[in-house]
Structures are given as C-alpha cells and as structure tokens.
Subunit: 192 residues, 2 copies
C-alpha cells in the first residue's frame, strides 16, 4: 500500500535492527485519513470472504479494525489484555507469550460476541513473532466461528510470525512488509 | 443523541445502581456506524472551535475519538495507561485516581505530539467521577496547548465528575446523560 509505505519512510523512526517506531500515525497519534485508506484496502481484499465480524486486540489494532468494520458494515470486537469493569466472566481466553517481557498473559473476548455461524477477519497493527495473532486465532476458533484471514498493517518479514501463521493455513494480508531495518533504513519486501 | 439513547435502552444492561454495561456497541464490541454518527455529532458541536488535535485515552475512547478526528480532519492521540515498546521517554504525565481500585496510575502522552499552538478536543466514552478527564485536561495543559472542551459519549449525571469539571470552566458536551440507573432502568436527563 503506497500511501502507507510513504508514510513509514517519511515519519517512521528505526529504533534498532528489529524495532520500527510509527507513533506519529499508528501507535500513539493516529492519522484518521490514513486509517480510512487502510480500512478500504482491507475491505477490498476481504469483500468476498463473507465476513460477519472483525476481531482485533487493544489498543493499536482498534483504529485500523474500526475503519475496516465501517466499510464492511460489520461489528468490531477488541480482545482485552486485562479485566475491565464489565468484562469479567463468560470469557473466551487465549495465552500470549511476550519474548520481550518473557512472560505470558491472557487475552479475552466475551462468549456473547462470537458464535459458530460467524466468519471473522482478524486485524492488528504489527505482525512480528505472531504470538498475539495466534492467540486471537485460537480464541476465535474456541467459539466455533471460522477465521477467514488476518489483515496486518505492518508485517516484519524478518521475524517468524508471518511464515508460521501462513504455514498453518491462515490467509494473511499485510499492507506493508518490512524486509529489513538494518543500518537505520526501512527496506520493504517487493509487492507480490 | 437519539440513536445512542435508543441503543442504550435496547442493548444496555444495568449491572447495579451505578454501573451501566454497554459492551455490545461501545466498550468491547464496537458498532462502527454508531461511532460514525457519534463522530458527526461531536464534530458538529465543535466545528467552530478551531480544533487542531483530539486527545483521548486507551482503549474505549479510541473509536469515538477516531470518527470525530476523521470528520474534523485532525490527528487523534490516545494517552497510554502503561509504558509501551515505543512510548517511554519525553512524556507529559498526569495521575488518575481510581475509586474502585483505590489506587493511582499515570497516564502519558509524548511531548512530541502536543504544542502550545494546538487547540485540543478531549474525547472519552464515559464520564463518571471525572478522574480520567481531569487527568487528560491537566496533561494537555502541561504542553501549553489550549483545551477547547470535552466530548463524552455517556455521562453519569448522578456522579460528580461532570459538575466539577464544568465548574472549572471546561465545556463538556455529553451525547447521553444518564440521570439514574436505580431499579434496573436507564433514565436519561432531559435534553437541554
Ligand atoms: N512500534 C512497534 N511495535 C512493535 C514492533 N514489533 C512489535 N511491536 C509491538 O510491540 C508490542 C510487543 O509485544 P510483546 O507482547 O512484548 O511481544 P514480543 O513477543 O514481540 O516481545 C506489541 O504491541 P501491541 O500489543 O500492539 O500494543 P498496543 O500498541 O496495542 O498497546 C507489538 O505489536 C515494532 O517493530 N514497532
Ligand atoms: N461500562 C461502564 N464503564 C464505566 C462506568 N463508569 C465508569 N466506567 C469505566 O470504568 C473504568 C473505571 O475506571 P476506574 O479508573 O477504576 O475509575 P473509578 O474511579 O470509577 O473507580 C473506566 O474505564 P476506561 O478507563 O474507559 O477503560 P477502557 O474501557 O478504555 O479500557 C471508566 O470509563 C459505567 O457505568 N459503565
């Protein structure tokens, strides 16, 4: 997605060989127009998949998921990483391991929100080692719903998440695949 | 806002005299069409305020804030409650006390995102005791930016936050004001 890649090149900051900071338009400040274009792109790619719900994870997944849901006209559910005032029982839960923090945490969605007739599109901002996406996929499947695929804004192609998840048969559509962050520059994989 | 009040009456669950659950369209599952209407309403009320940025707080504030930002064509910043991979230094911080948890926590926004020439609209999903909104207001003012007002989706009029914040001179626009949750029913305050 050209507009996204241009934004990454213009405003992205390479923090290390493995971390790209995009806080000015995706992870802290959000560019609504860009999110709308991202939503249009995901919606176009999945328009024939019979999507009935979108599932994402708080917090950075919410904006791209919401715009996609607006165009596909389906509800958007965000999995929670912590209990909330109103989300405490009757839950679908999956465990997500963090390599950085070296700890596991649960993510949850209410059982009321997903049913076996649902066809779900997973959406998230980053795909790196894939633990969060695997957790969402697992959680949705516990409800009996079908996962049609995943929409990822930025995939780090040099990490193993994308490869492992596609090897398991999930369709993953990434709008930008970063092949390398070495030497302070962002190199994108060629569009296939 | 009629559409919102009808949705609350139809899908809201009164959990106690003081807590209203709206997880099917605002706090866990999100209704994108409703969020778009909420965005249009906030944008209409603040269209002449010279807004340059919207500031909200993760997670439930993001959806209404994003839709408002799309219509006003301004960036949307979400304050974080916890450190993230890319938000760790150069921060504006405010403390928010939780009566329920009886503990204080910090919320943060990067100093890079707010400047003294900014005119900010604060947005959040609920206004109850007002601690989160006061924190956001405090944090934005530390940057030198002006706070034009706050847009709240659901205000609990029987709690003190709204009254205190308006008494301090902040313009607060709430799309639904819940006057009472007693006896399991939702009673709205009259439209002024
Ligand atoms: N900016 C940026 N973020 C990255 C990058 N690689 C991974 N992330 C994000 O960092 C967070 C790291 O999650 P961890 O759970 O600690 O995962 P880990 O296994 O990679 O260590 C996740 O944020 P999250 O769950 O999405 O958090 P939130 O933003 O939704 O709060 C993930 O999306 C990167 O190169 N740049
Ligand atoms: N559904 C619902 N929520 C209420 C109600 N009253 C307050 N809240 C929300 O509950 C959370 C309670 O926050 P606390 O920080 O513990 O505040 P407290 O002083 O009211 O105890 C906040 O969620 P938050 O920070 O917005 O969390 P998040 O949803 O963004 O993750 C607030 O918006 C209510 O009647 N119904």
């Amino acid at each position: 997605m050209k507009m996204l890649k241009e934004k990454i090149q213009k405003e992205g900051i390479v923090l290390s060989d493995t971390v790209l900071k995009v806080d000015t338009f995706l992870n802290h400040q959000i560019d609504p127009q860009l999110m709308q274009e991202i939503g249009k792109e995901f919606a176009a790619r999945f328009k024939d998949a019979g999507i009935t719900k979108i599932v994402t994870i708080e917090s950075s997944g919410i904006a791209p998921a919401l715009m996609t849901g607006l165009i596909l006209d389906v509800p958007v559910i965000f999995a929670r990483k912590r209990k909330s005032l109103t989300l405490s029982d009757n839950l679908l839960t999956a465990t997500v391991y963090s390599f950085t923090k070296q700890e596991s945490n649960d993510i949850s969605v209410s059982k009321d929100m997903l049913h076996e007739e649902d066809v779900v599109l997973l959406i998230d901002d980053f795909l790196a080692n894939g633990q969060a996406l695997k957790g969402l996929n697992d959680l949705v499947k516990q409800s009996g719903a079908q996962v049609a695929g995943a929409g990822i804004v930025i995939e780090k192609g040099f990490q193993t998440g994308g490869k492992e998840i596609r090897a398991n048969g999930l369709r993953v559509e990434s709008l930008a695949i970063v092949e390398s962050l070495v030497n302070g520059g962002v190199v994108f994989a060629e569009e296939s």
